[in-house]
């Protein structure tokens, strides 16, 4: 028995795992993904359970002891109403981690639907929808927010709709590109020969095959959405006082920086930065895993 002709024992290899397992293994080995995941998980934990371990009620004022610098009593100091900044930063992740993911989900659903239609039908449908989306993308989020607030009133729902609709054209464009190449493949032609409806072909045949770019775009958009929520809160849209929302807290206290009361703003700003960095690291990891 020649060694050459002998059947080699099968070693566990990447080729034997399913594509999902492949991605999971790749993610588990990705330093950036794991780092990002830890950061995001920390803030999610704070959003869910933060109020149980904050040293003070984040909403309770103590106006006589306002603007106290960081100390053993108040680790991050107190703000202009005497509220404990540490407690507010911890609990402040709640609004942003509710609004940003919901806005991203809305953008993903709307963008994917539009991208499937424009990429699948092409021609006049593509031309019309794409031009409308491009025009929409030219309007800054803040202007859209102002218009929406006039029409819908100030609320978290308005912020979700504004950010969701503002981001959907970007996702639509990504999905459209993916669909344009997918629709030329044999399995799409086969579905058409089977006289499947266009909706079936788009959502059952093509959609599963364009999930990776959608996933990458969604995670990237989530990072931008967090930043957008913070920006809109800073500008006074959507989230209302006394919420400890980070953007809103910065907006309420940034006037104090010139007086040397840096702690009223710095920790909220660092919190936003850390969450955005965390989400972007996760996005990098996902992109890397899907490309591998």
């Amino acid at each position: 028995m020649s060694a050459i002709g002998a059947k080699q024992p099968e070693l566990p290899s990447s080729s034997t795992r399913g594509p999902v397992a492949e991605v999971l293994v790749s993610l588990s080995l990705s330093g950036s993904f794991l780092t990002g995941l830890v950061i995001v998980a920390f803030w999610v934990f704070c959003a869910l359970f933060g109020e149980h371990f904050t040293p003070y009620d984040p909403l309770a004022d103590d106006i006589i002891n306002s603007l106290m610098p960081p100390s053993a009593e108040h680790w991050f100091g107190t703000d202009q109403l005497g509220r404990d900044v540490f407690s507010r930063v911890i609990v402040g992740s709640r609004d942003i981690l509710t609004v940003a993911p919901l806005a991203t989900l809305l953008a993903t659903v709307a963008g994917t639907t539009l991208g499937l239609f424009t990429g699948y039908f092409r021609g006049l449908v593509d031309d019309i929808i794409s031009r409308v989306l491009e025009a929409f993308m030219a309007i800054p989020v803040v202007i859209v927010a102002l218009l929406a607030i006039v029409a819908l009133g100030t609320s978290k729902s308005t912020v979700i709709i504004v950010i969701g609709l503002s981001f959907s054209p970007i996702i639509a464009r990504t999905v459209r590109s993916a669909v344009l190449s997918e629709r030329e493949l044999d399995y799409v032609a086969a579905a058409q020969l089977r006289r499947e409806s266009a909706l079936h072909t788009m959502f059952v045949e093509i959609l599963p095959n364009v999930v990776p770019p959608i996933l990458v775009e969604t995670t990237v958009r989530l990072g931008y959405a967090i930043f957008a929520v913070a920006t809109l809160s800073f500008m006074g849209f959507g989230i209302q006082p006394p919420s400890p929302d980070w953007g809103l807290s910065i907006s309420s206290n940034y006037g104090m920086i010139a007086g040397g009361f840096w702690w009223t703003v710095l920790f909220d700003a660092l919190a936003i930065a850390s969450l955005v960095v965390g989400v972007n690291l996760v996005a990098d990891g996902v992109q890397g895993a899907l490309n591998d």
Partner: protein
Amino acid sequence: MKNYRILDILRRGRTDLENHLIDGLVDGRVSRREFIRHGSLLGLSLPFLGSVGFAAGFGGMPSLARAQGTPGATIRVASSVPAAAIEPVSVADAGGLLMLQQVGEFLCLDGPDLVLKPMLAESWKPNDKGDVWTFTLRKGVKFHSGGEMKADDVVASIDRLADPANSSNALSVFTGFLQKGATKKVDDYTVEFHLDAPNGNFPYLVSSDNYNAIIIPADYKGDFEKNFNGTGPFKLEKYTPKVGASFVRNDDYWGEKALPERTEFTFFGDIQPMILALQGGQVDVINQLPVLAGVALLNDPNVEILSLKSVAHHQVHMRTDMDPFKDARVRRAIALSIDRNKLQKGLMRGRASLGNDSPFAPVFPSTDTSLAQRQQDMTQAKQLMEAAGVGKGFKVTLTTERYLEIPEYAVLIQNAVKEIGIDVELTILDQGAYYGDAVFGKSNWLDSVMGITDYGHRGVPNVYLSAPLKSDGTWNSAHFKNAEYDQLVSGYIAALDLESQKQTAGKIQRLLLEETPVIFGYFFDYLTAAAKGVTGVQPTAMSQNYLDRASKA
């Protein structure tokens, strides 16, 4: 020690009303401060008031002598951006009225001590009933364009503001008192105001308190921004909308010539860049400094804070015609849950006076100060809630504007009433969205069930008593309708002598404490910041700033 012989001489030729005031000072019914302030309102000159005070045993008037600064400086001021074109009829914002006042002058000036001083009018006096006021104009006053200011200019300027067809901002002051055509020229230097109803405080209505009421030429064509033609100590050099303005000394000024050679105004959209500009030496003065946002400067050794007692305040209204505030006990419970001392010391950094749920601020001479100050009392508040049948509390939305310390005030109220079971949800809007069209049915301000609204300074409480609280008040956001109150306010406004005003004020104060349609938590001081070494800056609590005596070390 009183000198009755001199007092007798001083009383000769005076009206009954004027002598009644003098008797009030002599008998101790009127304090010296009240005497000076009310005397100035009746048109008595400051030297005369000083003489009476001296004869009544109060010593001389405080010296009005001022240290003379160095002439020739350029004073640089940071101001908010004027919201619209600089037009005397329509200006309604702090930035705009500051520009008007740099070149324009009023018949009289409501000074930082709330004492009226002559400006373009030398003197004034009412008839016995108080419905005709006669003003004698100063002679030799020239407009920047060259002509002399005379009665025709005063009549035209005031008529323009009183004409409903012009949609003038001053109609909020004149409506119900002064109509177009009711300002009459007697001769070139005498003007009579024929009022719809007696008004004991009328001179304030044509003073710097009514910031639109600058006197401009009778032939004004509606192009004020072109040349800023007024009578003041400074003339326009350059005005660039949204950017800034500069003015130069008017060498033809009727009074003492201005010390500065020039003044420069830079417009800022926010307070923070103003603070940085002052700290960095780019400006010398910040015209108005909000306490909380300006906390950085309050203890800065390189900055001098000029603090004026003002009656500016934030009104917390509760809709008296809607649940849950139909019952006055609920409104009182909310008022009792607020810790005013904490607001005064904490929120306003001690730069405010306590409010007692009426527009009668402590600085008004007519305020009845014998009434006890409403204090926080949670036990009584809870009892009132129980008695009103809402012991378990309720949920309500408080709608307000994003301006000065109002959002923080709203949060403090939200926390305070939590203890009596009221769950307040806040809706904080930008000013445009809050005020809307400023008419009932089209305004969050006037339609909201509960709200907080900013009210600027006034020399007398007339506007605060009427517009937001009278049954037909155009700003009655509490929808408060009370015939007794309306009658009392009409009586107060008509009263010419201080004692009658005080007596009626006391009744109004008691009624408002009982009804509490609006919470007046505090009256905040007006702050101006100036760089160390800059002297002679004279702001008013109305956001005006007189720079003619300003200089730099």
